[in-house]
Symmetry: C2
Subunit: 221 residues, 2 copies
């Protein structure tokens, strides 16, 4: 067990170095990079579909999809005319900076304004791996229950933005929205919280506004 911990610590240190290299590269191209993390089925890909449709080619976007298996998610994005590269982790439970470096090389993306990285569906493991992103977004769907932030505190502490998704289902599930917001705020007092439905469109404008604001901040910095 001790050996596992030591090896993991070394892997994380190597990852940090690579992530910093990626961060410099994204800074040079003025690309805003967003790392999306959630449980399987919280609606990360649906949020990205709604996002690229709402942006309507006003910004140049690309997507890196991380999955254990299938090219399904990349195909959903490509169907909307946006370049997407699928990383298959062959069983691994998270993306790391090396996979993203390789994915960028293979993807052959043109220079873009926003690069979205959709991590493997997993609320735990991806949290520790910096991918050179500007910020992490945690997505929590209302159908997952209102105890999740306190049960998975690491990601809710580290994600600068929490998206509460599938708000159109609020009427049908036991989910105390105010309690969830309080949990998130107590874990991350400076974080932003958005409530939206990617399928119905409610709240998507605020998310788009946040992306524009973050991109402008980055360009001004």
């Amino acid at each position: 067990m001790k050996q596992v911990v030591t090896v993991k610590r070394r892997a994380l240190a190597a990852n940090e170095e690579r992530a910093e290299r990626l961060r410099s590269r994204f800074a040079a191209s003025n690309t805003l990079v967003v790392n999306l993390i959630s449980s399987p089925g919280s609606g990360k890909t649906s949020l990205l579909e709604a996002t690229v449709q709402a942006l309507d080619s006003k910004l140049r976007c690309a997507v890196i999809e991380g999955d254990v298996a299938t090219e399904n998610d990349a195909n959903r994005i490509r169907a909307l005319g946006v370049p997407a590269h699928q990383i298959l982790t062959s069983g691994a439970c998270h993306l790391d900076a090396r996979l993203v470096e390789n994915g960028l090389a293979e993807g052959g993306f043109p220079e873009v304004d926003i690069l979205f990285i959709e991590n493997v569906g997993n609320l735990i493991c991806p949290t520790s791996y910096d991918l050179g992103e500007d910020f992490k977004v945690v997505v929590l769907s209302v159908t997952e229950g209102d105890d999740k932030p306190v049960k998975y505190p690491a990601i809710f502490s580290r994600a600068e933005v929490a998206v509460i998704s599938k708000s159109d289902l609020l009427a049908y599930v036991p989910f105390d929205l105010e309690a969830v917001k309080e949990q998130i705020t107590s874990l991350n007092p400076s974080g932003e919280i958005l409530v939206l439905s990617s399928l119905k469109g409610d709240g998507v404008d605020d998310w788009i506004g946040l992306l524009h604001a973050r991109l402008e901040d980055k360009r001004r910095a």
Copy 2:
């Protein structure tokens, strides 16, 4: 990376040994052991609540809860008069046989007919760790989308039982139930598939019937 793989392989081999020790112990006490695996928020704890209520003290049950943080889930089970022991993994993304051995010692459980082990909410990492169980149950809620079995093939191949949960929400979400059943069957032709709603009670009888049948099979073996 190679070193990580080697260390992981050694950890898995050590886990196998411990799991076999647990399996002998459970065989000696005629205890049926069920290892529940799903994404966060698929309804594992709600299914256990519905289960112990439906069993209504006809069988002696106990629950081991695995979580990254909080004693919430064990408390929900204890509130129904069933002994529960909470394992906190301090960040780790799955239970292993060592944690279950320690949990049993700390839990001080009386001899029971069925021991439920609710794994950490994660559809990937718990799959590889044998806990000495009789069988794994994967829980997939209809709100997670109908592409999940092919996207997370390892757990759907290895779980003898797939529970499709939150069936009361089928009317409100895009979810092709037949397509999901086909995916699961193609990954695991001999597996059983149950569709149920723990909150509304639909389909819970079939699940209880399955548990009784499996317990009888074990006692006859």
